[in-house]
């Protein structure tokens, strides 16, 4: 009697999970927190247009997206950094071949409290600040106050991008690290809030998060270059030095519903949504 019930139960579980797996009308998108708002906006518009299709979007960080793509728990990974060689190797081992699609650009804003007299910095000054070589605002012409460094957690693509392109200046052999005293906050919003309330703080995040409570610094490549503020025009024409591509990763060439969704993001309508959500469209 008991055994028969057990059998029925397992059978039911198998059948339902088989049905769930066959559900081709739904795709899972996972990854970069920076891109959640953008992809969510795409998904909403897309679902409005093609009734019956379902796109679920969750964040967690670019790394989370890649690990889900590799383990097969999502169909599309969103990422604010390129996939690492190690991750490609792991994917290959599981029979997944990551395929990169550039869907938008993002300028990384470096922000301070509006009460901070500093308004512009060079990239090497930024590197010195975030690696802990400069610890007082006085050294770069500010008030005599200890600098409070704010960074994203290591699961953030923004963290990795900032480390590789600002701290390490694109040099793959560089060993520069964030100062160990840098505060690791779990979201861009937390950095925005802390900067808004702390005159000694400096942080970085995607330019979509800039508001009146923070001041975005003008950044120059070196002392001879022009200082540029993070705006959509400056990112498109390449004048603003800290901007990065945003990607969607699929398993192999997109097909079926995944292809329909990716095509939509790259269409004129999709790229208009990019502008609305404060990111920068890719040139088409």
């Amino acid at each position: 009697m008991f055994k028969r019930w057990l059998f029925v139960l397992t059978a039911v579980t198998f059948v339902t999970s088989a049905f769930a797996a066959k559900d081709k009308n739904a795709i899972q998108v996972k990854g970069s927190d920076t891109m959640v708002n953008l992809v969510q906006a795409w998904a909403e518009k897309y679902m409005e247009k093609s009734q019956g299709d379902f796109v679920a979007v969750t964040g967690g960080g670019s790394g989370t997206g890649f690990s889900s793509l590799i383990s097969g728990t999502c169909d599309i990974a969103m990422a604010s950094r390129s996939i690492k060689d190690k991750e490609i190797a792991l994917a290959k081992a599981k029979g997944i071949s990551p395929n990169e699609i550039k869907v938008a650009l993002d300028g990384l804003a470096v922000v301070v409290n509006p009460g901070n007299p500093i308004g512009k910095l060079t990239l090497s000054q930024l590197a010195d600040i975030f690696t802990g070589r400069i610890t007082n605002w006085k050294k770069i012409g500010g008030k005599d106050e200890k600098i409070v460094l704010l960074s994203r957690e290591v699961n953030s693509g923004t963290h990795v991008y900032f480390k590789e392109h600002v701290l390490r200046k694109n040099d793959p052999n560089s060993k520069e690290e964030f100062a160990s005293g840098a505060l690791m906050l779990s979201s861009s919003q937390a950095i925005a809030d802390e900067v808004a309330g702390n005159p000694a703080a400096i942080g970085y995040y995607g330019m979509g998060y800039i508001s009146k409570k923070q001041k975005a610094l003008a950044i120059a490549k070196d002392e001879k270059s022009e200082y540029e503020v993070p705006t959509i025009e400056n990112v498109i024409n390449g004048k603003y030095p800290i901007s990065r591509p945003l990607f969607l990763y699929t398993n192999g060439e997109p097909a079926g519903l995944v292809k329909k969704f990716v095509d939509f993001t790259l269409s004129k309508e999709g790229q208009d949504i990019v502008v609305v959500t404060d990111f920068v469209p890719v040139n088409k």
């Binding site: 590799i70 005293g181 802390e194 309330g197």
Partner: protein
Amino acid sequence: MRKFKELIIEKLILICGLASIFFVVLIFLFLLKEGLAVFKIVNPFSFLFGKSWYPISEPPQLGILPLILGSLLVTLGAAIISIPIGVGCAVYIAEIAPLRIKETLKAGIELLAAIPSVVLGFIGMVTLVPLVKTVFHLPTGLTALSGSIMLAFMAMPTIVSIAEDALYSVPKTYKEGALALGATHWQTIWRVMLPAASSGILAAVMLGIGRVIGETMAVMMITGNAAVMPNSILAPVRTLTATIAAEMGEAVVGSEHYFALFAIGIVLFVISFAINVTADLFLHKRQ
């Protein structure tokens, strides 16, 4: 037929009883399997006593001393705050409070235990953190002290309810004897009741500390998470639990980073296991 029913029920309950042990063993084996793999890459000594935690660099630096000290510092602070208040509260409830106040207080403490830790963390972030910053003139309020204060609130319900229980189960004759010998109420509490209940109170304290060291969400939100060697309770710290929670999503399954996080899990498991065993020893000593 009735006997048969009894037998079935007995066996079912037995399975329930064994299930918990079975799961603990499985979890522990899994932790060991995943965590010990990290020691193929770093030796245990430099893992436990290394001062740099840069898990995603090439090659990764996996030293968890700052994280261990961070956890201990926050826990120590929380213990210093919550033990006197918690034990005092238990004494008041068990010995002094009139029935009506007693019931209200007990309900209030249960309510405190019911607040989700993420809510406490959020409240701490918007109220306590700015307060700590202005009171101590710090560059930032995201410090170990903020974490300690918030966690003290979380340890209190455990400490109060178990300590109160311990005081309550001291035989009535002790108290009556002391009062009959002419001791005042306070003398009775201090010299007779507290020593008689001491092992139970110690167990309460240990369990409270166990709760604190395993807490994740609130500390992640308000301690700043900087993996630096803590030199003061007014500096930011990164705890073991917050490290696992913040980085598990990123860690690629099968990478050094992934194994290192499981190894941190083993360290945490060992710490809480030691605390629980100590608490258990005290509890059994009482009986």
